[in-house]
Amino acid sequence: MASASQGNNATAAQLAHQMRVSEKTPAAVEKEASVRFEISDLNFYYGAKQAVFGLNLKIPKNKVTALIGPSGCGKSTFLRTLNRMNETIRNTRVVGHILLDGQNILEMDVVKLRRRVGMVFQRPNPFPKSIYDNVAYGLRINGYSGRLNDLVEHSLKRAALWDEVKDALHKSAFALSGGQQQRLCIARALAVDPEVLLLDEPCSALDPVTTAKIEELMFQLKDSCTMAIVTHNMQQAARASDFTAFMLDGKLIEHNETSKLFTTPQDPRTEAYITGRFG
């Protein structure tokens, strides 16, 4: 299922990027190789209102990167630029570079991009179809017609939902509980085997037990998937992520390994936020 478009489609921006990489020291190159998303000078506008300011961030491969910050700081907006979901909103504009495995996503075919970069939303949003059809949806629209049954089963197993639904695959997805629905949405996103999974506050509508299940699931998925998660819950960021980025008013304030950011924040604003003095 690896994307065929990875090698070709070399654009000018991409070549320039590769040249820049080759100028670096071997250690830097090696570090570069484990980066999935490289975002540089990213600005985002809703009409005339700017929501993200000059953001630079690297999202490492097979790790969980958490985005934290107060409401309205632009973290969800930023996350949604990574699979170009903001394009569905009229009058929005992206300026900057977002490279996925060295390829500029702004020049990529959006369908291919979204197959490689899956997304899970704040509220579970299963389609009004059966459990099976929900998971098979992404496969079907991508023209996949092979062993659907196996892939549906595999995806549900990866999302740790199989045992609970294997006897009810053709029942409506609405019959599931909120937590099960969210795991179904994860299974649906996993079915097309994305390289990256974007999670936009996936647990904010769920109870603590279900939240723990989803976090456990994220831990297991790390083998095969890079994840970026927006969360309001700082304990969740501390528990479930490897790297954490703190955003404020559309700007990236601090980005570090989670353990370092939460124990020895470099910026006073980060410290103020994680100790609960605002937000």
């Binding site: 997304m119 299963p126 009004p128 949806y137 409506s172």
Partner: protein, 284 residues
């Protein structure tokens, strides 16, 4: 002081509650009064012949309205065939694609079209399809009804599509579905219960229209072969029979009214049963 205010608020509450209840009861009562009256008057004249026989010549009693029942069904079929697809697609455009200005224009035009008196729509169809060929036809009647079906379908489609949460759209788009694919495979199925109900209601509404048929489909005392001949229809038959001076015709007009209402109710309830079985109505 405070006590008096509390009493006032409680009694106002009770009065308003009663008023709304009375109005609601009135709405239900009107339908049942009409239905009861129709069954009382029409039920007595209903018999097997009514469904199988052609109208008898003037002066003879008995006979039926088989040709009018079939004629009404043919007209509705044409109206559905021409009106529903246009209404559905335009509604999808309004809800999902239209820009602000253009959408406003379409919405406004649709509302105006909805308000055009049905007799004017009849004249329109008359000019378009009757005048050129110089005779009335089922086709012209179907067109007139289709024009009336369109605006109702457009607005129903738009409203029910807008009621579908944006998160469903995002879910499908995030999986790489194009906008059209998202609409066709997720949004429309999710809204289908409401949209189909809206369509059936629009057909039910035009099923009883008389004015636009008077000079398009006209009437016919015999079977109407094909689509290019004048045809009898239930509403026009009711009109003709009700103003005629014969008691027997009056009774048949009541019976025709009962059949017309019965058809509409049956279509309505039938679709609800089917939809609830498919479990779609829940999402609407």
């Amino acid at each position: 002081m405070r006590q008096a205010r509390l009493v006032w608020r409680k009694s106002l509450n009770a009065v308003m509650l009663t008023l709304t209840g009375v109005a609601a009861f009135g709405v239900v009562a009107i339908l049942f009064l009409i239905l009861g009256y129709l069954i009382w008057n029409g039920g007595r004249s209903l018999n097997f012949d009514f469904f199988t026989q052609l109208p008898k010549p003037v002066g003879e009693t008995g006979g039926g309205m088989a040709n009018a029942i079939l004629g009404s069904l043919k007209l509705l079929f044409l109206a559905a065939l021409m009106g529903l697809p246009v209404g559905l697609l335009a509604g999808v455009y309004l809800a999902e694609f239209g820009g602000k200005v253009f959408s406003f224009v379409i919405r406004y035009t649709t509302d105006l079209l909805n308000g055009v008196p049905s007799i004017v729509i009849g004249i329109f169809a008359y000019t378009l399809l009757v005048l050129p060929v110089k005779h009335f036809s089922t086709l012209a009647g179907g067109l007139a009804l289709a024009v009336m079906v369109i605006p109702i379908t457009v607005r129903a489609t738009e409203e029910f599509l807008r009621a579908i949460p944006g998160s469903l759209r995002e879910g499908a788009m995030a999986l790489g579905a194009s906008q059209w694919r998202t609409i066709a495979t997720v949004i429309l199925p999710a809204a289908s219960g409401g949209i189909i109900t809206g369509m059936l209601l629009s057909l039910a509404r035009v099923a009883g229209e008389t004015a636009p048929l008077l000079f398009t489909a006209f009437s016919n005392r015999f079977w109407s072969p094909g689509w290019t001949q004048p045809t009898a229809s239930l509403p026009v038959m009711i009109y003709t029979y009700a103003i005629a001076p014969y008691d027997d015709w009056h009774r048949q007009a009541w019976a025709a009214g009962l059949i017309l209402l019965g058809l509409v109710l049956l279509a309505n309830m039938g679709c609800r049963v089917v939809l609830s079985r498919r479990g779609i109505t829940r999402s609407v």
